[in-house]
Amino acid sequence: MMKANILIIGAGISGVSVAYNLAKKGVQGIYVIDKGYFTNGSTGRCGAGVRQQWATENNCILAKKSMEFFEKAKEILDYDDDLELKQEGYLILATSKKEHNEFTKNVKLQNKLGIPSHQLTKSEALKIVPHLNPDAFISATYCPSDGHLNPFKMSEAYYLAARKLGVTFSFFEEALSIETKDKKIVQVRTNKNVYQVTKVINVAGGYAQEIGAMAGVEIPVYSEKHEILATEPIEKIQGPMVMSFSKNIYCQQVPQGAFLMGRGNPDAVKSHDMESSWQFLDEMAKTVTDIMPLIGNLHVIRQWGGSYNMSPDRQPIISDTDQLDGFYMGCGFSGHGFMFAPMTGLLLSEMILGEESTVDLSTLSLDRFKDFSYKKIEKSVV
């Protein structure tokens, strides 16, 4: 039996960020458990991109404020190693007049919120990425401060900083049950321990729905598989992440030299499956050789899968709940938990400590789905 002040379930980027934020504010008795090894879940399987070009105000604000943290993260967290932050932009291709017009609206919103994105003509885009197929798109948007960040190193930076502040981490420890009484948490049982605790933070990524269910809290999220492949490393030929929602692809060259590219499966089913598929390899090869034929000359050397934890409006749930006292969640990131993590940690720490919130939380709350009209769905998702 262990007495804990706060138990965090999930040591992915959201978990290490909230642990760090709480500990930095002086909270003690924080325990973080994870059912697998360090960054075994969605964080360690993500495409390592960080972007601020979104279609909803929510996501723009979360992304912009998170980027401001990433830019100073090495100093703030006092991390010895390199976080591999490379701000050479995201170049997002419009492939139809309709998409072009949507992007015009998006850029207007982004600029209003202080995000330095702009629309580019085809020839301007070709100057930034010369190996684009000019017949594959009609225009683009570009935000130079978007880019790449190493998910493993970023997680480690938070993890080491949190540990230094007294947070206890335990890997290969899986939550089995959450016992409640009169809408209050009593204890959490794991495969290794029993925690007497009244506050639990559910940042379990792909398993957020299941952790909610353990506590009797209904969270309308589910997981679906997305896949990525990596090529051999080569000399630098591409600055920005190239992305297209309509063609279903993102593709970047990471600082180490490899190209990473991923896409969603339009027919994906709700599942925790993370196995690699040959179908993905086929579709990915076809898509990337269409928009950037030159990349076809590289060898694919590795592929993997991971879970997107999908919410009904493709925007995060960062919330407490009237269903259960002391139960908090950061989930449903719909593929973007890594790039929003600094804000996830900050907002949850403010919520738990009863501090004033940095952003309006109503559009991030679990309650928004009670009378949900599906009007504000984030479309800028691959």
């Binding site: 960054t39 690699s276 090869a285 050789t289 000359n297 590289l298 590795r302 592929q303 993997w304």
Partner: protein, 93 residues
């Protein structure tokens, strides 16, 4: 020979010293080392470093070597040209 001069992962130029440093910091599995050092992520897919690192983990934590898991083996077995995959797809249809 200094541990700094012994290359364990030829794809990513990772030395025995770097492996030992991370184990000293409390990272216990191949998967941990892979994520922080890129061992097993190179073009040989861990075929060279896999067993060497397995042995180092076994010695360091005093675990029988047969109980030390190596990293997950992922496709593809060997490098394949992306355009070849796309072209062969055209042939099939």
């Amino acid at each position: 020979m200094s541990k700094k001069d012994i290359i364990i992962c030829r794809c990513e130029d990772i030395t025995l010293q770097q492996i030992h440093d991370l184990m000293d910091q409390g990272y216990t599995t191949f998967e941990d080392l892979k994520r922080l050092l890129r061992v097993g992520m190179g073009s040989c897919q861990g075929n060279t470093c896999g067993h060497l690192i397995q042995r180092e983990i076994s010695k360091h934590f005093n675990i029988p070597i047969e109980e030390v898991e190596i990293h997950k083996v992922r496709p593809v077995t060997t490098g394949v040209l992306i355009k070849k995959i796309a072209e062969d797809l055209d042939d099939e249809s």
